[in-house]
């Protein structure tokens, strides 16, 4: 696209009264700042990915993103139709499913590429002592060899480090099978486990028993695997998914299901309610320390500092808190905005807007001159959402803060890596300009020339073009 220049219409246009209109429009130079620029790109990817999935085209990995309102509406319809279909299958299940299936409700959910989703592989070598995940155990029976056990007639209560509380009874035995970036797998080999899982870290919680696999979507549930009985799963709040031999069933709040009973659901019984009451005792226990360096969102926040979350499911809570954070930012209340953003991320770390919230944290840290916080928040964003369109702007902000507050060598390393990892980014010129300045400050003639040449080659009409050449020349002359 060209800059305005005379064209053949001017030769025959004659006298016109539109000069003011043309002049005003030519003065327009609207800029898209980082946030709307990245948001639009995220929405583009959201729509494109959705379209790709609908068309069942071969997929390359795409960054997750925020969908447009239109696509959200489509998603809502999709869920509605999908849920209706699931209900219909549920209602007609006894006549549709082979008798030898102990549990059959719905087929495993198809992935975007159209393939059925396999249960994640379990890396048993990743297992860890369960004590790492617990705090404030109440009962006398200690953990042994990484297993939490409750004595006959006793109940073990504990805070769960990844969010929530648990209570183990009926001679229960619970251990950690795997702790992976996306999920934590616990094995309940026997006994009853009542648990309230808050999912603060975005990790899926899976409870395995001898005959079932319970994928916890949220939030309060009881898994009863007492000896001599099939596993019974009861959900008090939220929902869970139970997989048996690759066949899954979703259980919603107020429902319970016994594995091996042909998938028939029943209301939550008294036994489950009793188990649920165990958790109440666990809530009084001290807050757990999270496993060190394993949980990206493991920010300890004092309970009094956590903003009250709006009611609703995690996604709605996230959106409510995020909107409040945006209001706080508009009102120039960075401390409150930060708290709300962290609370939003804790409420639903998998939200499509989580990367935008993280990016806002980066901006807030940078605005307050907090180099450590900026770097930490940017790392958090890059580590958790490497393909997010906010990743590059966040990294640049971290580098710019580093330029302002860290030794020049540190800033130089940051900027070079930024340019390497994000070629042609929106901040390409800015990063090169900063590199020229750093080289000049360090008296590095060779690098100053090199960066200035790069700048002039790639951004000949850039705002720093004149200074780039001058700065490099001055650096070399002074040697």
């Amino acid at each position: 696209m060209k800059r305005p220049e005379p064209n053949d219409i001017d030769q025959f246009g004659g006298e016109s009264g539109d000069e003011k209109v043309v002049a005003a429009l030519r003065r327009l130079d609207p800029t898209l700042t980082d946030v709307p620029r990245a948001r639009v790109l995220a929405r583009v990817w959201g729509v494109v990915n959705e379209g790709d999935a609908l068309a069942e085209q071969p997929q390359v990995p795409r960054p997750s993103g925020v969908s447009s309102l239109a696509s959200r509406t489509r998603q809502a319809w999709g869920w509605t139709v999908g849920s209706a279909a699931a209900v219909a299958i549920l209602l007609s299940w006894p006549s549709r499913v082979p008798v030898d299936r102990p549990l059959a409700i719905e087929e495993p959910a198809p992935t975007r590429s159209g393939a059925t989703q396999e249960p994640p592989a379990i890396d048993s070598s990743a297992s860890e002592p369960i004590a790492l995940f617990l705090a404030g155990r109440s009962a006398t029976t200690a953990t042994a060899r990484g297993v939490l056990a409750s004595a006959p007639g006793g109940v073990q209560r504990a805070r769960f480090a990844l969010g929530g509380e648990l209570a183990l009874g009926d001679s229960g035995r619970l251990e950690v099978v795997a702790h992976e970036p996306k999920q934590v797998i616990l094995r309940l080999s026997q006994g009853r486990l009542a648990m309230h899982y808050e999912n603060r870290t975005g990790k899926t919680l899976v409870i395995e028993t001898n005959d079932a696999r319970v994928v916890v979507i949220g939030t309060t549930f009881v898994v009863d695997s007492s000896s001599g009985h099939s596993t019974r799963v009861s959900v008090i709040e939220g929902k869970v998914r139970v997989d048996v031999n690759g066949v899954g069933a979703r259980i919603d709040a107020g429902e319970s299901l016994v594995v091996g009973h042909r998938g028939r659901k029943a209301p939550v019984g008294a036994r489950a309610r009793e188990s649920f009451s165990w958790i109440e005792g666990a809530k009084a226990l001290p807050v757990a320390e999270r496993p060190a360096e394993r949980v990206p969102f493991a920010k300890a926040t004092s309970p009094s500092a956590v903003p009250e979350a709006p009611a609703g499911n995690p996604r709605e809570r996230f959106e409510g808190l995020y909107r409040r954070a945006e209001d706080a930012m508009k009102q120039k209340l960075p401390g409150e905005a930060r708290l709300l953003l962290n609370a939003a991320l804790a409420s639903d770390p998998t939200s499509p807007e989580a990367d935008a919230a993280l990016f806002d944290l980066v901006r807030l840290s940078a605005a307050s001159g907090d180099l450590e916080g900026t770097t930490r928040d940017a790392e958090r964003l890059v580590a958790d959402r490497p393909l997010s369109p906010f990743a590059a702007p966040a990294r640049f902000i971290a580098c710019r803060t580093s330029f302002e507050r860290a030794p020049p060598e540190t800033a130089r390393a940051c900027l070079r890596a930024y340019l390497r990892d994000h070629p042609g980014s929106a901040h390409d010129a800015d990063a090169l300009a900063l590199l020229v300045v750093i080289a000049s400050r360090l008296g590095d003639c060779s690098d100053a020339r090199k960066q200035a040449t790069l700048y002039l080659t790639r951004h000949p009409s850039g705002a720093f073009a004149a200074d780039a050449a001058r700065s490099a020349a001055a650096t070399c002359e002074s040697l």
């Binding site: 053949d8 219409i9 639009v40 390393a413």
Partner: protein, 195 residues
């Protein structure tokens, strides 16, 4: 910071053609780079075409979704700029066609545009008044005339280039532009903005 490593040389900037090829082979990174390279100019054109409508971000999203999908069949017969222009104009035209209700100047958007024009305080008021006048006058034009006028008179495209983008011939574009100028002249005079 994760992934931050020292690099001896800075990367060379890929050309538009390389980015298009990257997009066609499924590289999300290539599309991101292409987006960042052109989004500013597309946004400017969209603003000049539509004025202060706050829906520009949504339209920008639509444009780049179309760009993404269109790149698969992009053979390079026209330049990437023409390709982007065409999609932007189509989306803007569609918007103008379907949104021909009472045109409004959105004050907050106007303030931002004035900020972006880097107007000094002394001529902020003047620029604001000029933009209000310009968009009010443009709002009275039919979309086909408005689009042709912006492409030729403001963006500086030749009649032939504009005709290629609009899918018509240069004589038609010429007539639209001349007609737009005539109407704008009358409108501006009526509004008291013409001395």
């Amino acid at each position: 910071m994760t992934g931050l490593r020292l690099s001896a040389t800075a990367p060379e900037e890929p050309s538009d053609e390389e980015l298009v090829r990257g997009c066609q082979s499924g590289s999300s990174r290539a599309f991101d780079a292409l987006y960042h390279r052109h989004v500013g100019r597309v946004y400017r054109l969209l603003t000049r075409l539509l004025g202060t409508t706050p829906e520009r971000d949504d339209l920008l999203q639509q444009i780049f979704v179309k760009v993404y999908r269109g790149l698969a069949g992009f053979r390079g017969d026209a330049s990437l700029s023409t390709f982007l222009y065409r999609i932007t104009v189509n989306i803007a035209w569609d918007y103008l066609d379907h949104k021909r209700r009472a045109p409004v100047i959105v004050e907050t958007e106007l303030e931002m545009l004035v900020d972006d024009a880097r107007a000094y305080d002394s001529d902020r008021t003047a620029l604001k008044a000029e933009l209000t006048l310009a968009f009010s006058a443009l709002d009275r034009l039919k979309p086909q005339k408005r689009v042709a006028f912006v492409l030729v008179a403001v963006e500086g495209l030749s009649l032939k280039e504009a005709a290629e983008i609009l899918g018509t011939n240069d004589q038609v574009v010429k007539q639209r532009v001349l007609s737009a100028r005539k109407e704008l002249k009358a409108t501006v005079k009526r509004m008291g903005g013409h001395r």
